[in-house]
């Protein structure tokens, strides 16, 4: 575990609540159900994230990973269950207010603003502040020197890897305490993926808690402190990253190719 006490946006330590251990977690997702019309995408999902952790949500396409993240970031509302963040109920708070609590979400597929420049995209990330924090900006450009090179370029003209870097950089501009990353490795070359995962490790070392959604289970579990495995809207397995990585069922279900390749 990394030292978190001096992270820039570190919250005040929460008062200990007797008999309510849930309150000691940074994020507590309790038995949420999310529906798309008649379809139940999440059927009672519970998990927690502790301050300073990297937690991975794994699973196949359609298992509910993205839905889970969208519900945490306020893009969707659970029909049942609750989400508690730093001791406060947050389910039902819309995404544009939730970011003010320090939850930044890098959505699946990057979603940079294609017709804005890299510069403007970074500024958008700091939208919740009166003006962008130049120290944070310098730090972000330090993490991603490629963005500095392309600072005046329209984001739509960047390569996939650069767009992913921009999407993460943009989220960091919002000074997250909890960073939600949805498939940061999607569609990227292995070399770029390794770079991105290095950055995630570095960001986490700076004191940002990370909730990571990944299909690339081997890489994600190598990075994460803990992981949860989702299957058709339910959590079927959970544990420490290295335990899951060693688990036969996980290896069979998600790591077949990757293990064989290494």
């Amino acid at each position: 575990m990394t030292d978190l006490t001096k992270g820039p946006g570190s919250p005040e330590p929460l008062p200990a609540v007797d008999g309510a251990p849930a309150a000691s977690h940074m994020l507590d997702v309790d038995d949420i159900e999310v529906r798309y019309g008649a379809i139940r995408a999440l059927k009672g999902v519970s998990f927690h994230v502790d301050q300073g952790e990297i937690v991975a949500l794994l699973g196949a396409n359609g298992a509910g990973k993205t839905t889970t993240q969208k519900t945490v970031s306020g893009m969707m509302r659970p029909s049942l269950g609750s989400i508690t963040y730093e001791g406060q109920r947050i389910d039902g708070i819309p995404a544009h207010s939730l970011i003010n609590l320090g939850i930044c979400h890098v959505p699946e597929g990057r979603h940079v603003f294609p017709r804005m420049t890299v510069d403007e995209n970074l500024e958008m990330g700091a939208f919740r502040f009166k003006r962008q924090d130049m120290d944070v900006r310098a730090h972000v450009l330090d993490l991603f020197p490629r963005l500095q090179e392309r600072i005046k370029q329209q984001a739509g003209t960047l390569s996939g890897g650069e767009q992913q870097m921009l999407a993460i950089g943009r989220a960091l501009m919002g000074k997250p305490r909890l960073l939600l990353l949805d498939e940061p490795s999607m569609g990227l070359a292995p070399l770029i993926v390794a770079q991105i995962f290095d950055i995630i490790r570095q960001v986490n070392a700076d004191g940002v808690t990370v909730l990571l959604v990944e299909q690339n289970a081997a890489q994600a579990l190598a990075l994460a402190n803990r992981g949860y495995v989702l299957e058709t809207g339910e959590i079927v397995m959970s544990g420490a990253g290295k335990d899951l990585l060693a688990d036969d069922r996980i290896r069979a279900a998600y790591l077949g190719e990757e293990i064989a390749a290494s």
């Binding site: 893009m75 544009h96 959505p107 979603h111 017709r115 500024e123 939208f127």
Partner: protein
């Protein structure tokens, strides 16, 4: 040659008003992917709003002097913009937001827009049509400011062009450089992601309507100064401004300005070759041709959503 200059100036005058109205269509299209067909009535409301205030203030006896002209212009532009902005804000609240909340299909928005347009124009007909003298007193007395060759340039024409250009300049700065402008662009490009950045989408849409309405209302005042007022005055300028917005590339503010000026010029130049009752035909023929050969408009990049 003198004719050409004369028609060019007339074209720029008309075109700059089209451009102001077209901005309202294009801004709203940007954030909602919706053609706000009631925008022509926002324009009309701006004309009547400014007329009522200016008429109460100076009455019918427009004794013209420099001071009076400045007062009429200042008051007219501001009240026109305010009534346009108010009408547009209300329109969004009543005709569109409830549909958006319910996730209604696009067709419902279109029908709501047309209904709101009829309602506003008929209401104005009922309220204002009995007013005795539905045009501004002739403050400017067709005063000629200067001449280029034989072609006279009238004061009113200069005022309209200058006012429109100033408004467009500020709008362009607003969209490009301010935080409000960036939030409007972000919602237009990718609304769910804009929300993740902390942008309140509903508020941004509301503000977009207000800005577009203010420009349309100011154009209504200028147009009324230039010709006259009626509850049906919105139809042709509104429809042509919509054509101008498409011509320039809908969703692109600079395109709307360019499209408006182009359309005004083409319309007026056509008078040199064809009888003037063909003007409206020409305007829409230009639109059809542009759509056939360049469907995204002059400055349009793409009509779809960001990939």
């Amino acid at each position: 040659m003198n004719d050409f200059i004369r028609y060019t100036i007339a074209g720029l005058t008309l075109g700059s008003m089209y451009a102001l109205i077209a901005l309202g269509y294009t801004l709203v299209y940007g954030v909602l992917q919706l053609i706000n067909f009631a925008h022509s009535e926002v324009f009309m409301t701006g004309a009547f709003g400014s007329y009522i205030v200016v008429d109460t203030l100076v009455g019918g006896h427009g004794r013209q002097n420099g001071f009076m002209v400045v007062v009429v212009l200042g008051v007219g532009l501001i009240t026109g913009a305010l009534s346009g902005a108010g009408a547009a804000w209300l329109l969004e609240r009543v005709a569109y937001r409830p549909l958006r909340r319910r996730g209604a299909p696009k067709l419902a928005f279109l029908i709501s827009a047309i209904g709101a347009s009829f309602f506003m124009s008929q209401l104005a007909g009922k309220l204002f049509n009995r007013q005795k003298n539905n045009s501004f007193p002739n403050f400017f007395d067709n005063r000629v400011l200067f001449s280029i060759g034989e072609a006279d340039v009238r004061l009113l024409q200069v005022i309209i062009i200058v006012a429109a250009v100033v408004l467009m300049f500020f709008l362009d700065r607003l969209v490009q450089k301010t935080k409000l402008g960036r939030s409007i662009r972000a919602v237009a490009e990718d609304a769910p992601t804009a929300a993740l950045m902390g942008i309140n989408i509903d508020k941004t849409i509301s503000r977009t309507f207000v800005i577009g309405g203010a420009l349309g209302g100011a154009a209504g005042f200028l147009f009324a100064l230039f010709s006259s007022l009626s509850y049906q005055m919105g139809f042709f300028p509104g429809t042509k401004a919509f054509a101008a917005a498409v011509l320039g590339g809908i969703g692109n503010p600079r395109g709307a300005m360019l499209g408006g000026l182009t359309l005004g010029l083409v319309e007026n130049w056509s008078v040199m070759f064809l009888p003037s009752q063909w003007t409206n035909v020409i305007a829409f023929a230009v639109l059809v041709l542009v759509l056939m050969f360049r469907p995204s408009g002059i400055l349009g990049e793409r009509l779809g959503r960001a990939a």
